[in-house]
């Protein structure tokens, strides 16, 4: 048989709509349902992680007032909070959630290329989440090794959860990686093979570009985590000495012969740094589309934006050791990694300039998704600038173990992506559910979250400069700090609890919308991308009815001179736009 293209073969395919509740909503192979399953699971574990951070803040703000928080619990909270937020919430939500929902719809395909594997990906992910959550309830509790799981302490006596806790964490990570790989193969293949007619790579919306490159990063970087997890499992269960040095632990010789903890750090951060961009690149892509749509203006420098995503992805593999300055390294290596780290600022800054230039003289509609997008630009610039501090060896060394680092990474990869997540949910909510939410409540949610997170993280920079150590359960012998440091800590805790409580507004809004929200138009934002042009609203199984769409233009034909409407959808042919063209190619 000669091979025929995916889109050309479409008319040969029979599309069996799932007809039972179970095939439609539980064992579903529809990318949209899988996306929602991923999204809901990720948000559920995210809420657990939010609760854990609230308990950490209670201890830090009001030490000794809460008897149920002891040092062991505290370290377990830290570890699980970090791991859940980075991997089980953000990675899963951006790629499993938005990736699944947006890739087929934005590329103009009916589904992922391998729907069964896609379904399997979700269920294996759910299994990893169940293993992770179950580790809270095993004897000894979950691991308290810190989210970086550094040996030797991760598996040595004195650290909470060194029996079942750490084993379940490592097992859960391994299972997650299997799930991610199954999903990732699907995303890459779908983007490369299942685009509809006319959808060249350079006509793809930036959301797809961000998700696509992030998936490639994940596929190449997660094996590093898998290798380190397996080797640590061996060290723990079989007493090999990959990472474990010859140590005496509490007077007992555990029998290790001289492994290298630094080796673990290399492997971990070889995964860990690209992981930052696995989360950030989809956020970059999505925010570009949100800004362009709600500013009614084509994205500034589309090609540059695509190439910036690719450059950031490539560079993210050669900066990992900037997480290890304090572990000690050859000064030339330090110089190399500081240089590469600072070079990443170039494509990243290009993206920021382009977002701002897209806003420039745009017809800005300050709707909820736009507010979150602009909020993201603020927090991301803020977190990015402190990254320039920490990328330098000499500045990193004194600041590395302080709250400055906590403030930096929460701004850049905590708050920033989460703002995009909210913006994206508000933006695509009408498409997913067919209903509108309450705009006013959404705006309240934005302002309280945005200002509240600043109230949390801005003071942390000062605490860091003052030398307040991170990871500590209690201050201990820190006489060099003024008493006001503790007052600031109490204020931060109040802000954190406030922001956590504010999220109720979001859930109230969404639940209200599901039940009583007004029905939305099929394209309420007058957007150009394909997902807003589906024949059914919300899109049904198969997405496109009888015929796949054909694409005739890029994704950013907003406010094109000479046309009646201020947007032209991607599937509108050149001669079918509402008015003749006055200017050619000079938008």
């Amino acid at each position: 048989m000669s091979y025929v293209a995916y889109a050309d073969r479409d008319h040969e395919q029979e599309h069996h709509d799932p007809d039972t509740f179970i095939t439609k909503y539980i064992w579903s192979q529809d990318h949209k349902v899988i996306a929602i399953q991923y999204g809901l699971t990720a948000i559920f574990v995210g809420l657990i992680a939010l609760g854990l951070s609230a308990m950490m803040r209670l201890q830090l703000g009001f030490p000794d007032d809460f008897a149920f928080i002891n040092p062991e619990n505290y370290y377990q909270f830290i570890t699980m909070h970090g791991m859940i937020m980075v991997i089980y919430l953000l990675t899963a939500l951006f790629l499993g959630g938005f990736g699944n929902y947006l890739i087929p719809l934005m590329c103009g395909s009916r589904d992922m290329v391998f729907p069964f594997m896609n379904m399997l990906s979700y269920w294996v992910y759910l299994l990893s989440v169940i293993i992770l959550i179950a580790s809270f309830f095993v004897p000894g509790g979950s691991t308290g090794a810190g989210w970086t799981l550094y040996p030797p302490q991760a598996i040595s006596p004195g650290t909470p959860g060194i029996d079942l806790g750490i084993l379940m964490m490592l097992a859960s990570l391994a299972v997650f990686i299997v799930a991610f790989t199954m999903g990732g193969l699907n995303y890459v293949t779908t983007v490369l093979q299942a685009r509809c007619k006319g959808m060249t790579l350079m006509r793809l919306p930036l959301s797809v570009w961000g998700i696509f490159i992030a998936t490639i990063l994940g596929l190449l970087a997660f094996p590093a985590l898998l290798v380190s997890a397996i080797m640590m499992l061996f060290d723990k269960t079989l007493h090999t000495s990959f990472f474990m040095p010859a140590i005496s632990s509490m007077g007992i010789d555990p029998g290790y012969t001289g492994g290298s903890p630094i080796l673990f750090q290399h492997l971990f951060w070889f995964f860990g740094h690209p992981e930052v961009y696995i989360v950030a690149l989809p956020a970059f892509g999505i925010v570009s589309d949100l800004i362009s749509t709600h500013a009614r203006k084509n994205i500034f420098g589309y090609r540059m934006m695509v190439w910036a995503i690719i450059m950031i992805g490539g560079l993210s593999f050669i900066v990992w050791a900037h997480h290890m300055y304090v572990s000690g390294m050859n000064p030339y290596f330090g110089f190399f990694f500081a240089t590469t780290t600072l070079i990443i600022a170039v494509p990243t800054a290009i993206k920021v300039y382009n977002w701002v230039l897209t806003l420039w003289e745009g017809n800005i509609h300050l709707r909820v998704p736009m507010l979150f997008s602009i909020g993201f630009i603020f927090t991301f610039i803020h977190g990015g600038l402190t990254g320039l501090f920490l990328g330098n060896v000499t500045i990193d060394l004194p600041l590395s173990d302080t709250y400055f680092v906590v403030a930096h990474f929460h701004m850049v990869m905590g708050v920033s992506p989460v703002l995009v997540v909210f913006g994206a949910i508000y933006h695509w909510w009408p498409k997913i559910t067919g209903r509108m939410y309450n705009e006013t409540l959404g705006k309240w949610h934005f302002w309280m979250t945005f200002l509240g997170t600043y109230a949390i993280y801005l003071p942390m920079h000062y605490l860091g400069f003052a030398g307040v150590p991170r990871r500590y359960f209690a201050m201990g012998n820190t006489d060099f700090l003024p008493d006001s440091a503790q007052d600031l800590n109490a204020a931060i805790t109040m802000s954190a609890l406030f922001v956590a409580a504010t999220q109720i507004l979001f859930f109230v809004n969404m639940i209200w919308s599901l039940k009583k929200g007004p029905k939305s138009d099929p394209n309420p934002w007058d957007a150009t991308t394909l997902e807003w042009q589906t024949p059914d609203h919300p899109p049904k199984h198969g997405n496109w009815g009888h015929h796949l769409p054909e694409v005739h233009r890029w994704a950013y034909d907003y406010s094109v001179p000479g046309y009646k409407d201020d947007f032209i959808p991607q599937n509108v042919p050149a001669d079918a736009a509402p008015a003749g063209r006055e200017h050619d190619g000079d938008q």
Binding site: Q193, P223, V227, M231, F242
Partner: protein, 223 residues
Amino acid sequence: MTIALGFLAIILATLLGWLLKQTFNAAPWEMEVVSDTAHYGPLGGTDKSKLIALLTLLAVVSSFFALILSAYALRMDLGDWVPMTEPQLLWTNTVMLIVASGVFQWTRNAAVKGQQGRLQPGLLITGVLTLGFVLGQFIAWQQLQDAGQFITSNPANAFFYFLTGAHAVHILGGLYVWARATLKVVLGTGDSTMIRRSIELCTIYWHFLLLVWLVLFGLLLST
């Protein structure tokens, strides 16, 4: 980590080269006429989804092994490393895997030419040889155990067991797909095109795992 970086450089350079070709000089805001094949994948106007998924998977697996090799190189510089003597049986196993790969290629060629009669013997011989390889690796483990070379005896041993075990697991994964194709051929069920594509993809996977094994074996012998 140089090995992992070298590997990544190759993958990323390939990807970048291809992307550059796709995107350089493209002016997406202009309404140029898009030819019918413009939306197709990187390998021309054909549906090669499974091939692309396989190649992507091979990149992931390569990354996995490259990282273990990086760890190997870093760890062997430390003081407690005692080089291990590999069992002679590994040579026999290697020959078996090479022949298995060769027979798979022969079977694939037969499938492409439509010589259906050769498929069954080809697939069965490949399967037996590959299973023989996995069994041989297991016996090599037994021989090491009998000689007192346990996984905890030395980091070199630990890496030996880890590398050979990880490789064998990947072979077993391939055998699962091989078994499905073979069953269809033996029972005479299944579409011949699908079977041919299955055999084509399996052949690539076998060659790849042979290559990985040759690299691993070379490294184990030389260190």
